[in-house]
């Protein structure tokens, strides 16, 4: 036996040397799957759609924060002297950028691949619903990109290789809005969902279109699309005011980004006071507090504020205040549609100031404001517009509208310039693109002035 030992050894060496390398180096990942064929049936198509909503949870949080801080509604607790900050290229006010393209890329995958999925359990309506919602979410991403930065790079193909998106340059603001409209048209055509407010519904498409038309100043269209939700009995201005955020998916809501206890948000920490376990990172600005607490202006909307017991005079915002992390983010709700219609009616070719005043009153009445806005024969268009501006500030105080409302109405220099003279300079009316993003993309031009 011993004499064979050598033979075994030499054999084992030879075998090891000969051992083919096939197999042992071809490992497959276990927690991920390959890009090819990942969207293969109804179930995976739907999962890919939820993947977009998942990103919306973080991107919309970032959007709200940056827009809120940019205006005179919300300030950073630690910098009480800075009511309205100016921005430079290195400090872009924390505005999100890349995350919008994460949404867009995920939507592009669905738009490109779901039409080709072969699955006989997959009805056309279900397929269209998924594709339609992807269009809606892409529209929302481009719309908010435009609000932050003006015209941006338009990407409509999924990124399948590193060079897929090479050489794309920024488009104009008009082209960007045109892309939003085109996507919304597609969504309107494809979406049939009218009930699940945690996802894009037909009414969400109408609502976002109405908002877009405000920005593109297509007043008749804005009025028409805002009226669609207002006319539907699926929606109402709920009372009390606070019930739309203390509850969930209420009649007020057209589209809200939801969380659950397992899929929880930590946004409440940024808003609640330290005595409530939060960080009170963002606090309301003094004049807003005054107006919200004024029965003639704020009415029951003062419920959104809570005064600290340990630190009297400190007010914190309760809109996102569920400590189990289930507070929704309100993307579209019916009150905004009333105010959109009011503005459209006041601005359209033949202004309807009476109708506009009626819409303002609808919002005010729900908030039990003691002095309601009425249009008398002496009321001018600018009176109505100012009333709308103030009403929007109070009604939608922490939902990220104020800054771009002032920009689109041309009031930003007058209103915010008083707090920070740099805001009188028009280059400050858009955000600088984050320096790190410009750095890695030769096609991405920084906004002028930054």
């Amino acid at each position: 036996m011993k004499s064979h030992l050598n033979h075994y050894i030499v054999l084992s060496i030879l075998l090891l040397l000969i051992t083919s390398c096939t197999g042992v180096l071809d490992l497959e990942p276990e927690t991920s799957v390959s890009d090819k064929g990942v969207i293969s049936d109804k179930k995976t198509s739907l999962a890919a759609l939820y993947g977009i909503y998942d990103n919306l949870q973080s991107s919309y949080t970032g959007t709200l924060t940056a827009f809120n801080l940019a205006s005179d509604n919300v300030i950073s607790y630690t910098e009480p002297t800075i009511i309205v900050p100016d921005r430079n290229a290195e400090d872009n006010g924390g505005a999100p950028f890349s995350t919008f393209y994460v949404t867009i890329n995920r939507a592009n995958f669905i738009i490109k691949r779901v039409p080709d999925v072969v699955d006989n359990q997959f009805t056309d309506a279900e397929r269209n619903e998924i594709i339609g919602e992807a269009y809606f979410l892409r529209a929302l991403a481009y719309f908010d990109l435009a609000r932050f930065y003006g015209g941006v790079q338009l990407v409509t193909e999924p990124t399948e290789r590193i060079d897929t998106q090479k050489g794309i340059r920024r488009s104009t603001l008009a082209e960007t809005y045109a892309q939003v409209l085109a996507d919304l048209d597609k969504a309107e055509e494809l979406i049939t969902n009218e009930t699940d407010r945690s996802r894009a519904t037909k009414f969400a498409v109408y609502g976002l279109k109405a908002r877009l038309f405000l920005y593109t100043e297509q007043w008749e269209d804005a009025e028409e699309y805002a009226s669609k939700s207002i006319a539907s009995n699926a929606f109402s201005l709920v009372t009390p005011y606070s019930s739309f955020y203390t509850g969930r998916l209420s009649q007020e809501s057209i589209f809200e980004v939801v969380y659950t206890t397992v899929d929880a948000s930590t946004y409440w920490r940024s808003w609640l006071s330290t005595e409530d376990g939060g960080n009170q990172t963002y606090v309301p600005e003094a004049s807003l507090i005054t107006d919200l607490r004024d029965p003639e202006k704020g009415g029951t909307r003062k419920a959104v504020l809570k005064e600290s017991t340990a630190q009297p005079g400190l007010y914190t915002v309760q809109l996102y205040g569920k400590k189990d992390g289930t507070s929704s983010l309100f993307v579209l709700r019916i009150a905004e549609q009333y105010l959109i219609r009011a503005e459209a009616r006041a601005k359209k070719a033949t202004p309807d100031l009476e109708g506009a005043a009626g819409d303002i009153r609808a919002v005010q009445s729900r908030a039990e404001v003691s002095s309601l806005f009425t249009a008398t024969p002496s009321t001018t268009q600018s009176d109505v517009l100012l009333a709308i501006e103030n009403e929007r500030r109070l009604e939608l105080a922490f939902e990220g509208h104020r800054f771009t409302d002032l920009v689109r109405t041309g009031r930003v220099a007058d209103v915010l310039g008083g707090y920070n003279p740099l805001l009188r300079e028009s280059y400050q009316w858009v955000f600088p693109i984050p320096a790190s993003s410009v750095e890695k993309d030769p096609g991405l031009e920084q906004n002028p002035g930054f």
Binding site: H7, I13, L14, A47, T81, N105, A286, L314, L422, D441
Partner: protein
């Protein structure tokens, strides 16, 4: 069945036998033996002169003839020869002086003397053993007994300063946390920059399994291995030495050899070490009143109204502008003092080693308990080792090495992050009370109360590690051996934390995380070694193969909404969720090498290795790594003058390629992952962009070396110059355009060079019988440069940058020229001259890498006493003092953060010079800002500091009881030691420790000091007895 295999083996054997025999015969220079005429029979034994241990494998040759033999494992040999007595024997044995003996009759005992010139010591280089004098490569050996006695938990820290070219930085003073290790500079931007660690032939994992975020603090996986069992450490530096490790060797290789016992009677060794550590030289903070005045001034300078200033009578408070009381009403509270303690260390180790003629063994155990000087952090280790070797027969040797350890830790978040200890203890303003009038702890801003944190932190980890190896070595022919080695490195890392409702992270009802990560690496190595010698030349050839497979997986479970703080297990949580990870990689390698030496003057060697890695893209999977070296022992040339002043001179040169694939698994594939859920519906998302073109990162390295021995062997030195160039730089997070929807990709994106010179000098200044004095001096310099990079990459909080033409981890800031004496505004260099200070004006102004560094070590012995003094130094290294960036923020952070005393020296009136800027954070006319509020990212060079230092690393005084006294009480040896570590540090750096490094998880960011725990000063007593 066995018969069939036998027959098959026979066939295969016969088929290959001819070829193998031809190969062996053609290489063999050994003459065939002819049955000689017998004239004498000589029996003998060869022993060590001092220990009387028999020496096996010694070569005995009769002078003038070719006849030679070797001793067996009992040191015995027999000559049956045609020669008649007397004749001269030449006995050679590696590590001993060659001896000539005249044999007058049988039997004979031959004593060999150790050769302490160390030139003939055998070094293990990769897969072969080579005499030091024949080395073509740059390497260095450190013996176990020369390791520092300072209380470091890992072997690597104990090497600091001992090996020129090996840069070792303690990231923090917390025991058992990460160490920055770079051999001959930084080749790569990946995490794969650590040298390869090989413990007793097992390639061990040195990347850590930590999953919890501790603010940049990482645990050190090398702390799993006891520092007591170490026999020696070999550091392989150049490519010729490391190329045989192929893809694993690019960053150098550190071979750790543990004790294995020897052929002698069993020895029992018991050691105990105990001592204390404390911290000094901490931050100096302002008083409450000083804080108030600074903040008030900044408030007004920033455009705030005086009547709204933060520190004014409490009754003037309004909704928008709270009032904190007048400055002179402010108290001063100390929090920083609350977190420190004098930590008491204990270490006990017990080992038994020994052996017989055929076996040797080492059994050791250690218990170490080493609390940090920061309360709430503790490190302990229980470690066990069993090493065995056994000669089954003259031809077969088997053995095993086993290390099992468990290292429980208590941890707390330091460094970065709102809920960290330093935020609570250092960053909370001093004017704020710690408890309120009801005795309740007060929290402030986003920080926890320091006492609440110390009392309620419950973060633990435990690393359970088993490193095992078995091998068999067969001597197929006298000159042909085969070694088969099988290893595993198994590691479980368990972590858990519970944040109680008294902590911010525990809001509203407690929060807990538990992570278990498991990793196993299995490897098999087969090696065939062929050695043949003749009078003039030696040839060693080896071929082998290696296969390695690593599987890593883990589970994370989190819970919140606990019924009370008494219920801390996630099982009790109201809301529970979990996730899992899984990953694997494999590496298959084939390698071979030749070493040829001629006349003890010339050595040429070459190796070649091919590696296939599962991590690399399919089309580029195999990497090929050749290396070659040359050594010329000039002093053995006939023309070299024989002189006592110049005993030895050697020149060497080497060249080689090494690879690196230390990226995460599966980086070349385009992937989608799940877990991106919405409203509890499962979501899938594209998670990784494909890069089929992913290829090996390759480093080419030249090494030129000179070494010599001088002055009657009292002085020896070695100088090495190296030049490394890394191509296809692997960037694991190479940024891609945002419009792709991905943030980064693993990409081969650049080239990096490292050039340097290393020098070591050993000098025996005094060598009398009673008094000796030995000095070791090292100095090394490395220049690192990014030669090519597709685009600059910023890291950290955008104050670190990777850019062509600069070293890696360079600090990217505005160069502050001073403060305008008229306005008090900061003056930055306007690089582009456009009159505006923008990002374009930032410059790369230094890095953590020193211009040169080294150590000075002096060892004195006098009778039973020995004294070791180690000094390390570093020059030209920079740190970004990010702690000071926060604490010297000019009051513009208001009541949010504390202020450092040095802030008091700010611009107050026109004409002030040598001051910090005027207190404001508004934009100056040129676009600059004097101080930064929390939201801005623009950095001044005034926080970039020179962190050069000279440090008295440790002093150890030892006393060994004279052996006759020791024997009287029944011991072979008794030794007591006293050690002082980190006694003195000379530095201009303003932070507590110039060795700080707080963002330890990214190579883009090295050299940031943010809330780093400084290295403590320690005093230790040790006692070691041997039975």
């Amino acid at each position: 069945m066995i018969k069939i295999i036998d027959r098959y083996v026979d066939k295969v054997w016969k088929a290959h036998a001819v070829a193998i025999w031809l190969l062996i015969i053609s290489l063999s220079t050994q003459a065939q033996e002819i049955t000689p005429l017998i004239n004498s029979t000589l029996d003998g034994v060869v022993v060590d002169l001092v220990s009387r241990e028999p020496l096996s494998e010694a070569t005995i040759q009769i002078e003038g003839v070719t006849h030679s033999t070797k001793t067996d494992n009992k040191g015995k040999f027999q000559f049956i020869t045609g020669q008649k007595f007397p004749y001269t024997l030449i006995i050679t044995y590696i590590g001993y002086k060659t001896k000539k003996v005249v044999a007058n009759g049988s039997p004979i005992t031959i004593e060999l003397e150790r050769d302490d010139s160390a030139l003939d010591e055998v070094e293990v280089v990769g897969y072969t053993k080579i005499k030091r004098s024949s080395l073509t490569s740059a390497l260095q050996v450190v013996k176990g007994e020369d390791l520092s006695q300072a209380p470091y938990t890992s072997v690597i820290e104990k090497l600091q300063g001992q090996v020129p070219g090996l840069l070792i930085t303690n990231d923090s003073g917390t025991p058992g946390t990460s160490v920055l290790v770079r051999l001959r500079g930084t080749n790569s931007v990946n995490s794969g920059n650590e040298p390869l660690y090989v413990v007793d032939d097992v390639i061990i994992n040195s990347d850590n399994l930590q999953g919890l975020n501790l603010g940049g603090q990482l645990v050190n996986p090398l702390s799993d291995i006891s520092t007591n069992d170490i026999e020696s450490i070999t550091v392989l530096k150049d490519a010729n030495a490391t190329a045989i490790y192929g893809s694993r060797g690019a960053n150098g290789v550190i071979l750790i050899k543990t004790n294995r016992g020897s052929h002698q009677r069993a020895r029992l060794n018991f050691g105990i070490q105990t001592g204390t550590s404390h911290t000094r030289n901490l931050w100096e903070l302002v008083t409450g009143e000083e804080h108030a005045n600074i903040v008030n001034e900044a408030f007004v300078n920033n455009g705030g109204l005086y009547e709204n200033r933060p520190f004014r009578p409490v009754e003037e408070a309004t909704a928008a502008f709270p009032a904190w009381g007048l400055p002179e009403e402010q108290q001063t509270y100390d929090r920083l003092g609350a977190i420190w303690r004098t930590a008491v260390l204990q270490r006990y180790n017990l080992s038994v080693s020994g052996g017989s003629a055929n076996s040797n063994f080492y059994v050791g155990g250690e218990y170490l308990d080493q609390p940090s000087t920061v309360k709430a952090q503790e490190f302990s280790r229980y470690s066990f080792r069993v090493n065995l070797d056994h000669k089954v027969s003259d031809r077969l040797k088997v053995g095993t090495s086993n290390n099992i350890s468990t290292t429980p830790r208590k941890l707390i978040r330091v460094g970065d992050g709102g809920t960290g200890l330093f935020q609570a203890a250092l960053h909370t303003p001093t004017f704020l009370p710690i408890v309120d009038e009801n005795g309740q702890y007060v929290t402030h801003f986003t920080f926890d109360n320091v006492y609440a944190l110390l009392e309620n932190t419950d973060t633990k980890s435990n690393s359970i590690r088993s490193i095992n190896n078995v091998y068999a070595e067969v001597k197929i022919l006298p000159s042909l051996t085969f070694k088969s080695s099988w290893s595993s490195d198994y590691n479980i890392y368990k972590e858990s934390n519970y944040f109680s409702t008294k902590l911010r992270a525990g809001q509203p009802a407690g929060s807990a995380t538990q992570i278990n990560t498991e990793r196993v690496t299995l490897s098999a190595d087969q090696l065939l070694n062929y050695n043949v010698s003749s009078t003039n030349s030696d040839i060693a050839i080896f071929v082998g193969n290696s296969y390695q497979y690593t599987d890593k997986g883990g589970q994370t479970v989190t819970g919140s909404q606990f019924p009370s703080d008494q219920h801390r297990q996630i099982a009790s949580a109201g809301v529970r969720s979990g996730t899992t990870t899984a990953s694997s990689n494999s590496l298959l390698s084939f390698f071979g090498g030749v070493n040829f030496s001629y006349k003890d003057r010339y050595v040429i060697d070459g190796t070649f290795r091919s590696d296939g890695s599962s991590r690399i893209g399919k089309d580029h999977r195999w990497g090929h790594f050749p290396a070659a070296g040359f050594n010329w022992r000039v002093s053995n040339e006939p023309f070299f003058p024989k002189s006592d002043n110049f005993n030895e001179l050697r020149l060497k040169a080497s060249w080689g390629l090494t690879g690196n694939a230390a990226v995460d698994d599966f980086q070349s594939l385009g992937l989608w992952s799940g877990g991106s859920n919405y409203g509890d519906n499962p979501g899938i998302v594209p998670s990784q962009m494909a890069n089929a073109d992913l290829r090996w990162e390759t480093t080419r390295q030249w090494n030129l070396g000179v070494s010599g021995v001088m002055l009657k062997q009292r002085l020896d030195f070695e100088i090495n110059y190296y030049d490394k160039y890394t191509k296809d730089l692997l960037l694991s997070s190479f940024p891609v355009q945002d419009i792709t929807g991905f943030s980064s990709i693993t990409y081969n994106a650049g080239e990096i060079s490292n050039k340097g010179i290393e020098f070591i000098l050993n000098s025996d200044n005094l060598t009398s019988k009673t008094l000796t004095w030995r000095t070791t001096y090292t100095i090394s310099r490395n220049t690192n440069k990014v030669e090519k990079l597709l685009q600059p990459i910023t890291g950290g909080y955008r104050q670190f940058r990777l850019e062509e033409g600069h070293p890696i981890s360079s600090i990217w800031v505005h160069k502050q020229l001073g403060v305008d004496p008229q306005t008090g505004n900061v003056i930055y260099e306007d690089v582009d001259g456009d009159g505006q200070i923008t990002q374009e004006d930032r410059q790369l102004l230094g890095s953590v890498w020193p211009d040169f560094e080294g150590a000075l070590r002096n060892t004195f012995t006098y009778k039973g006493f020995d004294l070791n003094v180690n000094i390390t130094y570093r020059w030209g290294n920079r740190l970004y003092n990010y702690t000071r960036y926060f604490l010297e923020s000019g009051g513009v952070r208001g009541t949010e953060r504390t202020i450092q005393k040095s802030q008091l020296n700010y611009w107050k009136k026109p004409g002030d010079t040598n001051v910090l800027p005027r207190l404001s954070s508004t934009t100056n006319p040129d676009g600059s800002r004097n101080y930064e509020p929390a939201s801005a990212n623009s950095y001044s060079s005034r926080f970039l500091e020179d962190a050069s230092f000279i440090r008295l690393k440790d002093i150890t005084l030892g006393y060994s009881l004279p052996s006759r006294f020791a024997r009287n009480v029944g011991f072979a040896q008794i030794k007591a030691t006293v050690t002082a570590a980190n006694l003195i540090t000379l530095t201009k750096y303003s932070g507590p420790d110039p060795e700080a490094n707080s963002q330890t998880d990214s190579n883009l960011v090295q050299g940031m000091d943010f809330n780093t725990v400084p290295q403590p000063i320690s005093f230790l007593f040790g006692l070691n007895v041997t039975l």
